[in-house]
Symmetry: D3
């Protein structure tokens, strides 16, 4: 068994002047504008504390040939400063066997206790009365490879819940909301709605690569988490008996339609009460978290946030308010910190 190599230097501590010799994720690499025949290399290096840009000027071809995006690399170099931010001038870069590192050092993760979150989710899915849905979840939970990935997957690359455990945090929060809303309106099937809340994004366990950094996988870019998730559900359903086809279509419809409208990626718009509710629950949980994470960023003592390019506005933090708690420190069920 190989020993784990300890990591001591983290991106957030890399001040100009620091000499670097440690492991990082090679998040991006780009060979750019050639000059005098020699390419040079722009890189982005990351670990769980953040990202730093770097550049390599010498031996670039050998270096580049030996590494690939997503590799764990040992970097030798120095931190300089460029445009008011630290920049890592890379002297050496070699790939390291990922089996010899502690992946948790390299990718941001929720501060919450993942096992506790998962237990709460289990207790919700075990409260389901509809036999075939109950069995479907048991089939998922009985697959340890799936459970391992499900507990680690992020819910996004950037917008919200973009960290290890983010998918679980998002699904649990939505399932709790689904439970509350199902009782508010007559004619809503609670079991179906909770199932949709837990499974609508299940394809994200394969849509993303998140071993050492969060990025889209090939199948994620080619097929989307909607299509992958449907395939994952169908695969489990084929192992079950007594599955009512009409009900299955209603569950799949929740996955198909949860983005609400075609222009946002819904294959069909929501056509059942449960699908309409699930779409809004998803909107609420993803938007509220995207905004709270944005509000919690640097310089949070200001009344207004910077301009949020995707949402197209500044958000109001308040003249006197303390900055809101970071989402990752929030219990998705109670909304209060541990």
């Amino acid at each position: 068994m190989t020993a784990i190599i300890a990591k001591k230097q983290f991106v957030k501590d890399l001040a100009p002047g620091t000499r670097v010799d440690d492991l990082f994720v090679l998040a991006e690499r780009t060979l750019s504008h050639k000059k005098d025949g020699n390419p040079y290399l722009n890189v982005v290096l990351s670990d769980r504390s953040g990202q730093i840009k770097g550049v390599a000027w010498d031996h670039v071809e050998q270096m580049a040939a030996a590494v690939a995006g997503g590799d764990i690399v040992r970097i030798g170099g120095n931190v300089s400063e460029y445009r008011g931010a630290p920049q890592l001038v890379v002297r050496s870069m070699v790939a390291v066997d990922p089996a010899r590192v502690d992946a948790a050092e390299f990718i941001p993760a929720t501060d919450l206790d993942i096992d506790k979150l998962f237990e709460r989710l289990l207790s919700l899915t075990r409260s389901i009365q509809t036999p075939w849905i109950k069995n479907l979840f048991e089939a998922f939970w009985a697959d340890p490879a799936f459970v391992t990935r499900f507990k680690r997957a992020p819910a996004a690359k950037m917008m919200h819940h973009a960290y290890i455990g983010g998918l679980l945090v998002h699904c649990l929060s939505m399932a709790v909301l689904a439970d509350k809303l199902a009782g508010h309106y007559g004619g809503v099937d609670r079991d179906l709605l909770i199932a949709g809340a837990v499974l609508h994004d299940v394809g994200k366990v394969r849509e993303f690569d998140y071993t050492t950094a969060i990025d889209y996988s090939d199948e994620g870019r080619l097929l989307s988490h909607i299509v992958i998730g449907l395939e994952m559900v169908e695969k489990r359903l084929q192992t079950l008996a007594d599955v009512p086809p009409e009900q299955v279509n209603l569950l799949k419809h929740l996955i198909v339609s949860h983005h609400g409208a075609p222009e946002f990626g819904a294959v069909e718009p929501p056509k059942t009460l449960e699908a309409v509710l699930l779409h809004y629950i998803d909107e609420i949980d993803s938007k509220i978290n995207a905004i709270r994470e944005f509000m919690a960023k640097d310089d949070s003592a200001q009344t207004w946030t910077a301009y949020h390019r995707v949402l197209g506005r500044h958000f109001y933090r308040g003249r006197t308010a303390a900055a809101p708690d970071k989402t990752t420190a929030t219990d998705p069920e109670t909304g209060r910190t541990d």
Copy 2:
């Protein structure tokens, strides 16, 4: 005191061949395509049971001069049939003093107990801790003319909650949801959110005329319920002491932004957590009710509804499901019928 004239014939009972002599609302009147110098008159007559089209061929000018849209009119005539639906051939039409009729006979109304709904709303607004918001609601509730209108107002002309009491049903349902969601996320001001749920549409008490039929008022069409509602809130605030201006702007922002985006009528997009939540709560309650009301319509034994032109799709009722309960028969708090 004038005696109330009893009404005995209702639109839903007007079969071809019926001789008519009773009171109706003149919901619409249109002088169309002249011929041989004489105009003729298309009318829509309504009462609380529905609408019927009618036409008058004779003495049209005298008739038309003596009545206006929205009047209570005594109609003499006969029901014939036109395009598979009954049509009222009007022989005489005279306006009747609205003080002599029971308005409840002329306009659809919720089946729920309006006073009980209002009591629940009161208990919610009285649970508010923030003094100035508490005082603001007391100022509203202390105004009997306002309360009378608020308990009667519809929430829309057609899409959802388009009946007497609809605004109250909608606001109570939203306030209950607001109460549930406020506890789910950290950093949300529950009092502000509940206030927004109750007041976001308050301008609808003037945006619509709903004495005898639901239609837009002049100021409703010219200014919108958003602008009217802001003016109504400002008027009460001017009677209160110790109102913190920053907080007032946050409450007004909830009214200003509750439609979510400019293209749907929001003056500004939601820029606080409460504004984002309120927008989605409004979306959920209005869309779910619009869909349930649509599902409950005629021929509800079919698997799919007809095509919903505004929402752009058919909705699924299910192969075996009974039709969902009518919204008006639903308790907005528990989602169950009394």
Copy 3:
């Protein structure tokens, strides 16, 4: 074995005054505006020659309880005239065992020889060199239930190829175009492109019901032909050995992206050269056929067609030109009639 009931009266021949006693498809039924307690029934009846509207006034409840949309019904009644078009006044309507009718009498179908078209398609898929794609097609063709449905399925409900055999006509035409275009640009995988042309719409064999009339199936409305098609492909792939996962994702991507952009139903936009080409081939074949079918309609001697609501324009037939040939009479490979 039950004898087939012969059909003698066709919709196109139903002139006012005709007494009717024959079989039709009950394409639509709607219980509308009640009067005097009795519902009445609007129906649309169809056979392969067209559609006619009808109405029933008496015994409506018993009638309605005994039939469902899509049933083959025996109609007794008379043709009257309504708004310049014949209308069938229905006196009796009873469902007939569909096993006792010749389905071909009830639904429009291509005039081309379906078996010949299918043979041409087979010869194209058998020219594929890539082993796993070749095997995938053999798996489809080896399933007689699938082949039967595939040869019958329409490509749409209304816009283009909306007739029995339409899917096959459309796929063959696209496969021929794919073959031509694959050679025009370097770097395009011909086998993949042809496979995409044949399979991109394969889910339509289940998206539609087309036993007696063309309408969406429940799973068609809830999941779309894209999702159904992916499931059909995946099911066959699981029976094959040596299937390269990366290549499979590229084929599925063709199905996922063939609508071109999310607002037109593409789950992901086309991200490979083959996907971009397939999208345009689909656009060309569906638009050209939609326009040609529209040009061929009634009153085709006029220079301009009527306004095409979906495409938003009039089309030019020409001052002197004869009307173009009907699509169904056209050989999709050569563009010439047999």
Copy 4:
């Protein structure tokens, strides 16, 4: 009485190498990417001649704690060069009592004589015949605090008339156009149209902060100038007698609708002839000025301007034409310079 501190160094003169010791507006401050535990500060400093970026490396926390965005600050430091533009390296920064500075030194202002412009506007509003509108303006003009702000307010932060006096220049120009157009079409109420021209943007006196730099106020961002303006008008109307409610709604409608369509911020679209005209007059005056100000920018000897990102095109200056006059040097009534 405190003496005014004279300002001698202006942004436009800050060449690399200059030693700086003078007063500026702290237009923006951002604490960014931490390193080695110490934040550093990016600032934007401005005065009436323009803006310059700056950076502080030392004692940042003390500095930042003592100042806020919008403060007048005394800056000690040196001008260096960064990316081809001067950059101010800030050594010291302390807030200065704004009562001790001449605000005119810190914010760009129209070159026109504000009092003369205002006189012209007065003579237009005094030509109004409708009593209640005439009285409304007298109520505004009788409020010296309002008049002071109205004469100083800008019409925008960036696009057009973004300088002290800009709102007055814009409103006067529009009122003159309104006067010309009111006579061109029959049925247009000149008094109402002129009132709309003068008051449509009146909320901008509070939507912006423009003491030392132009930025949105909190209420500006939360409520918009439309809502603020309506409140300002309503407040004056409550002091007047004999105000016809229907006419008031028509004036408010001009404010509500002047952006033309909901997606551009109109609460309601224009529904009267005056509202339609006012919208176009606003479009003309704001677009023409935005373009002329853009054409007048640097390097104005070129045939085409740079690409205008908001308007989405290059504008043509002409092969031989001299650059057009700067807007601020133009008399809005005659279009010619003094």
Copy 5:
């Protein structure tokens, strides 16, 4: 010389029961839903007083073969009533030599004095100082065939100025506005702007057919008035000497861009001050006239108009206001009736 056949019966006077024998324009003809082998014919007949729908049941093929859309036809038949409007049941229909009718009886025309309007336009174009533009207009005015068509052409088929002389009314009104606005802003070329006002729609003299009814011509539908107008201008320019090419491009740019944005048909967006102004002048004149013509329609005593489908709103006429004057009775220069 053939004698003119007098016309005595006009559409507006065709009451049910009237026996008809007179000349009309065959505005539309459609062969629809065949029955029993015989087509039947829906027609729209028009004259200057309006339109009436008609239907023919017998001898349809012979009738249809002998006439074409746009023909002047002698109609024999009777007026019946259909859906509350008169309908002409056509017994005979034969084409009549258009040389034997007075075209003015068949198509709506402005009530204004066309020659006086044209004189005013001439005086405006003769006030132009730029030699080549002056010469260009002289070339147009020297072509009597052009002038005849220009004085008759409508400006639209339906939305606004849809009558004989409408193009002239629209261009004169715009030229007067252009003259006023050119002086308001510095740097605007008055001669160019007036030329654009007069010529921007000049292609409409060929885009429409308006001998007997207003409809698009073939080249109108295929090329648009923009492209036709450019060709008409270029043709005259080729006859002139000393035409500066850069200036010509600026004039053509006015034609190319006057619709403002590509989605509304502008080939390029306006890129000069004159082009921006011309676009808004066109918007004002077409929208104000569209609204005024709509307000003047039937039942104009109501406070609000019917819903305007293209503009998407109701317009406000006022509680007490008399209906506005019809546009055609308005002097486009002064806005007052003669």
Copy 6:
């Protein structure tokens, strides 16, 4: 006769430290942010191998006065480095007589044999049977000034075929596709479709300036290649006899509509089968080439391309695939390299 000045230094070879003394195109020049009274100059210099940014600090006014954008200039200076890319610090810059340079050194060009491509195009247009179209092409080909420009023109400034000869490569490829598709569908006029393929973009020979660098011409920006192309076709048509006007409108319609929809610049949408086909052929050829050129860019060993801003996605190159061939090395007819 003046001697050609040889060029030895190319942009792609300008490494930091290089001393420069050679000819370049002054592609862009911008006078920016003044300081201490002296402007400074940002420039972009180009030749056929690429572009390099430069800056001049001294004698800027004299320098700027003596050169204009598009000039061939002799540059003296040094290459430094700025933001990881070489930057040319310009010491001297003087315009050089373009007659003394070899234009081919300054602008990228296709690697294909232009004369051979043109021969193939000729053989296609000479296969046309319709006399007037055949004559129209002979009129174009008989004009040597036109042919020279047509063989050199690019098809775009940036997106695709943005090099000398690009228009010819694009038109030939489209004409070959047109020939293939014309035979696929019945009722398509092959001669018209091929003529449209060759002439749809013919206005690009004047829309762009491409003597020394590719940029829009004034008339290109003011009128667009559509309008210019129509004028070029009309000019040749006026020299021909026996031209059928209806057919001419159909050809012009192909030019007018080839962008498909107004929002993409089509003056009218395609209204004939040929116009619909031509639009898609154009889409295919421009998109496929844009994507292939983008895929061939730097760092092409990666599985996915960078994000394509205009097309809004990453494109998939494949895990193992070699980069696709550059478009310019591809025979547009066969899709294979020479």
